[in-house]
Amino acid sequence: MAKKNVTQEKKETIIEIKNIIKKFGDVTILDDVNLSIKRGDFVTLLGPSGCGKTTLLRLIAGFDTPTDGAIFIGGNNVTMLPPHKRPVNTVFQKYALFPHLNVFGNIAFGLKLAKIPDTSKPAGKNGKIPTRKWKKAEIKEKVEKALTLVGLEGYGHRDTNSLSGGQQQRVAIARAIVCEPKVLLLDEPLGALDLKMRKEMQVELMNMHRNLGITFVYVTHDQEEALTMSDKIAVMRDGVIQQLGTPKQIYDEPQNAFVADFIGESNILSGTMIKDFVLEFAGAKFTCEDKGFGKGENVDIVIRPEDIYIMDADNPKGMLKGEVVSVIFKGTYYEIEVKNEGYQFTVQDTASWDVGDKVTMYIRPHDIHVMKKAKTINSFDGVIKGADSVQFLGATYEIAEQADFEAGDEVTVKIEFDNVELTDHPEDAPLSGRVTDTLYKGKYYQVQVYVEDADEFFLLNTNVEWDNGDQVGILVKAEDIQLEKRTDSTETAD
């Protein structure tokens, strides 16, 4: 649907976030975030819990100040401006209504404090515009209007405690928009509501956004909500924006395996580009619409479950043979798991198949999304301890006998994802950490381990399934640790 408010002026930038870094103690929450938001847009910050999305919103609201970087709202640098002086208002997840005030009192709170330009008085000396407060009658009118907007006419006298969760959130929204902010910040505002109420409120929020023309910045971990409501989505992970784009871009052209996995169900596999437009995965060759990769380059491949077609095993169009291992009815479609040699594909199909059916699968070339592998090697700063040991991330590892470096030399330590082993007994390994993410890549899992003492992530590929939160020890064989001389200016490329 086209937006109503496409006015003659080109959409200007209303929020500009520049190189924002936020640390709490030693932990980095936001790592060099840049984001610019256009006036009138509905922008969603989407990501799993702990990705930094709420922190980013709180920085825009002014409840926290960044460790480094700057925030501009409407062209003004507000980085150090306290929240009560910023032209933004916030809707909190747990409503945060004032319990001692009734609905009217809550909504009128901001209006009673506001100072507006007084046109009845002449401008003062040095061009200062005189200000006044809202009159009682004006406040009453505005509050009633806001109540109507959120569908709560006649609720002004009610005690906020007597309202349902949905009604309380409506009051919270009315309380924020009645101040006519330039930007409305919403921190998982529907998180505490039940599913039906959430769906209703989604539609109402979208209508409000359209009618008010205010910029919305919306935080959620619910990808469906983000896809439904937003003009733009910023997918975040570990304090970094992974991708910024329209819902369609994010869904159809995910920039990396994380985005693909987080946005909707997907099959994520590892494959190899044979040449432009041809690649290999799951033991078969496919044509695709991607080019520009190196010959033989390892890539990540994403295929959405609804883009795989299941056919009888003898169908000549079939590309991948497999066996149905599970079928679940999901209301409007069936979710079918098809096992092919090493990988289990998730397929959504309107036709049902039986478990044990031998089938073949077909995938259209433009539904195969090829992405550069983000990283295949860990690289850390280290110091040589002796002829057979190196120290990095605060731990000492044995290395193969070498004569290139002397004790005290600064080096870059490189360890391939495939060469890392995890153990259940952290005390047996030089370095220990906590599993923070696992991603099934077909045939293996890519696991991310957070090393708290060093505030760094260790990535590895393994056949063993680990759970988030597992405490693990990190083992690397001496011969798998590669050392490179570290020079100050050159950054070691992957």
């Binding site: 306290p82 929240p83 208002n89 747990k94 945060a96 004032f98």
Partner: protein, 270 residues
């Protein structure tokens, strides 16, 4: 479990509660009954009369002591509520480890023997006099000492309200354009009022029946407790009338609080 053992259990539980209440109230009832007889010796009945009450109101020393006690309790509790509330807010906003340490630190007069607190303040006031700070034992010293030893109780009463506060409430106030001070008074404070009221009630009663701290810091003034203690001829019979009146006041306060609680619970359920 059979139905019978269930009922036996209930009966036992009930009789324990009723027994408890009788134990609590019987001496008080006895006191009230004996406040209506003029006999000087305690526990002997010499006919019904209001004479003890008349004597009480005619006893200028007694009335003076009553006035002093209530005045000191009212002033020091009012100061303690203000001081205690702000201290609680301050402690609440500290970092976790400092918060626990500070909270424990403020509770020293709760845990410490009252006699130590009393002597400590007396020592302080004497030391002040010795370096010519114009202070005399009387109202001022009494109020200062009382404030210091009842404030921790206010902190204890306000703290739980702070912990139950929605952490976004303060931010919501800022967000809507109120400065930090304004938000503190118009958003946070109103949420603490129930805690402040119970803190005041607690502080008031503790100040009211304090003897130990008062006796060291009162000078020539008499509070009810020091008046009773200083009476040469044992406990004066009018004290029975006074005690009965104070009990009546406390009982009324209890009933009022109970009814108010009931009402607010009803309102909350909507």
């Amino acid at each position: 479990m059979t139905k019978r053992t269930e009922t036996t259990k209930k009966i036992i539980a009930r009789s324990i509660v009723i027994g408890m209440l009788i134990l609590l109230y019987f001496p008080l009832m006895l006191l009230i009954v004996f406040s209506f007889t003029p006999s000087v010796a305690m526990g002997s009945w010499s006919g019904f009369s209001f004479s003890l009450y008349r004597d009480l109101f005619n006893n200028s020393r007694a009335m003076e002591a009553v006035r002093t006690t209530f005045l000191v309790a009212a002033i020091s509790s009012a100061i303690a509520v203000i001081l205690g509330t702000f201290t609680a807010i301050g402690i609440f906003n500290m970092k976790k480890n400092k918060q626990e340490l500070s909270l424990a630190g403020t509770q020293i007069t709760v845990i410490n023997a009252e006699i130590v607190t009393g002597i400590a303040f007396a020592t302080l006031f004497v030391a002040m006099m010795n370096i010519n700070i114009p202070i005399r034992f009387g109202y001022v010293t009494l109020v200062i000492a009382h404030v210091m030893f009842i404030t921790p109780f206010v902190i204890l009463a306000v703290m739980p309200r702070l912990y139950r506060l929605n952490p976004n409430l303060y931010e919501a106030g800022l967000d809507l354009g109120a400065g930090p001070m304004k938000t503190m008074f118009t958003v946070v404070m109103p949420q603490l009022i129930p805690g402040m009221i119970s803190g005041f009630a607690l502080a008031f009663t503790i100040s009211l029946d304090d003897f130990v701290v008062s006796s060291f810091n009162t000078g020539h003034l008499n509070t009810i407790s020091t008046w009773l203690y200083n009476s040469r001829q044992g406990i004066p019979p009018e004290s029975r009338a006074l005690s009965a009146l104070i009990f009546a006041l406390a009982f009324i306060a209890l009933v009022v609080l109970y009814i108010k609680n009931k009402k607010s619970q009803k309102a909350f359920r909507g």
